[in-house]
Symmetry: C2
Subunit: 320 residues, 2 copies
């Protein structure tokens, strides 16, 4: 995995960057952005790290997470006239970061998602990479910056989240070796795994139990759902449902797991999960205007629960 | 990690081996035993692979699992007069494998458990090794045998199970690099993870929900339990409860998770889990006559549930 020369040239030549990641940022978006910011600043550059949404509470263990701002204009680190260069992280479309109204002198895209759009002056989009964090790892080394303990923790987290800590089919020898280097550089695997997987509030845990109790099985499709009522009863929020659709996938008979979350009346956010080389749920999500990866994707739908469920079951059956 | 010379000498010199693993074998015991059997046979040796207990259903994806026999005497591969050499795997005491009544000309022990006992003519006990499977990996290479695709799948599984697929504090750069080599040799990380974590029966899943619904929290200690009645209602078995105590550990406030399983009236099998560098549950299990690892241990107790629970809570508070 080799960063393109024009990207290296761009990063070396320019001095001020806005690093922006997609909305609802996950560990890969966050860790990759922070690590790149740290590396560029160690080379004497200035960066603003932007996300429209706040860093989720359970990612606040990431060293340097306070670099994130949700307001480019008000950022204390912002020198308006100087910063004109965008680096878009873990997505490849300005709209995914909700920065489509801003102007940039120049823009680079670093991403590993499959559905690539036509944005960016310089594009490094590698759907074969398990995580944007792995690309940033090679980029930082190519730039000649040190992989510090803080950078290592961010990149290891990015990789861990997007490979399901080495459980998904994107777990290559390369990703394991890069992770070994990151551990040597100071990343702590159990501390990171604990923070990713074992920092649940009891509200979140109670919501999970409620969601799992709704489990319906349609042959090889598992459907769970969370109602507005359940959110109210438990005090948990929509961000707390991350990973919920992974649980029914534990069942041997299940090939696709779908979680429907009621975000308002007759409006659902749907997350899909599939196993290994099985059904490509990104294709199914795209049929409903969403997107994602082969084994993890999502979309939104305005409908009542039963109609939304039937539409999904039909789509899965037609795809399988 | 270097195998002792006397062990290499023993394996090279002798021609017939009984490879025995501990009762209630887990992925490390199974994968290590099968891999060593395959490697020794590739060098022209004869082996019997023994465990008193059957290979659990969900480990039958391991290539070569049919090598396991639960009867040394009746084994069709057994040539009674020739086989006198024992290799004890993933435990260090004949009683843990329930072979204490058998006689062996010579015996070797390969294990990574902390509480070492005085058994075996040749001992290779390395509590710093994350898994016995990692030791077998180096042993096979030192013997000059090929790491075939089948051996790689067994060793990767052994390592994955004992490191929580690289989530526990025993995840070292060394274990990640060895795993990279095993993937290159043909181990399939997502296929293995699916088989370890995603082959649940619906009976097992329903039992998990019942168990989690019993959750009681005593400050930083989570207690769940499974009654004989729950086993009956769901049709799930005691082996199905493996991993159950890991779930309450997801809660940020929890430092120790204990699962009590009723195996008969007033007789409980208790599994303990703790986080990272926190409480050493092996020490607590030892207080009740059991044992295990720092973050995963267990014991049995004859008592009613409430008294057993109180005794544990007291022991944890005194240790912490």
């Amino acid at each position: 995995m080799t960063p393109p020369k024009e990207l290296l040239h761009f990063l070396k030549k320019e001095n001020n960057f806005i690093i922006a990641a997609h909305i609802s940022p996950d560990g890969d978006a966050l860790g990759s952005s922070i690590a790149l910011s740290m590396a560029l600043e160690s080379l004497g550059k200035k960066t603003i790290v932007y996300d429209k949404d706040a860093v989720p509470e359970f990612y606040k263990f990431l060293p340097g997470n306070e670099r994130f701002t949700d307001s480019i204009q008000n950022s204390s680190r912002f020198i308006r006239d100087k910063i004109q260069n965008l680096i878009l992280i873990d997505c490849n479309d300005a709209e995914r970061a909700e920065i489509e109204k801003l102007q940039f002198a120049s823009s680079a895209v670093i991403d590993h998602h499959e559905t690539a759009r036509n944005f960016g002056d310089i594009k490094w989009i590698d759907p074969k990479s398990p995580a944007t964090g792995l690309m940033i790892f090679y980029l930082i080394k190519a730039l000649g910056a040190d992989v510090t303990k803080e950078i290592a923790a961010n990149l290891y987290t990015a990789i861990a989240v997007d490979t399901g800590t080495f459980r998904y089919s994107n777990t290559t020898p390369e990703v394991l070796r890069a992770s070994a280097e990151l551990v040597e550089a100071g990343a702590d695997p159990s501390y990171i795994a604990e923070n990713i997987y074992e920092t649940w509030t009891s509200n979140r845990f109670r919501l999970l139990l409620k969601a799992l109790n709704t489990l319906e099985i349609y042959k090889d499709i598992a459907v769970t759902h969370v109602t507005l009522e359940m959110f109210r009863e438990t005090g948990a929020a929509i961000a707390d449902t991350e990973n919920f659709p992974g649980y029914p996938r534990m069942l041997k008979s299940i090939r696709v797991s779908a979680l429907f979350r009621e975000i308002e009346n007759n409006h659902y956010k749907v997350s899909l999960r599939s196993k290994g080389s099985g059904i490509n749920v990104a294709k199914i999500a795209e049929m409903f205007g969403g997107g994602g990866h082969r084994n993890a994707a999502g979309y939104k739908i305005r409908s009542d629960f039963n109609a939304a469920k039937e539409a999904l079951l039909k789509a899965v059956r037609e795809t399988a």
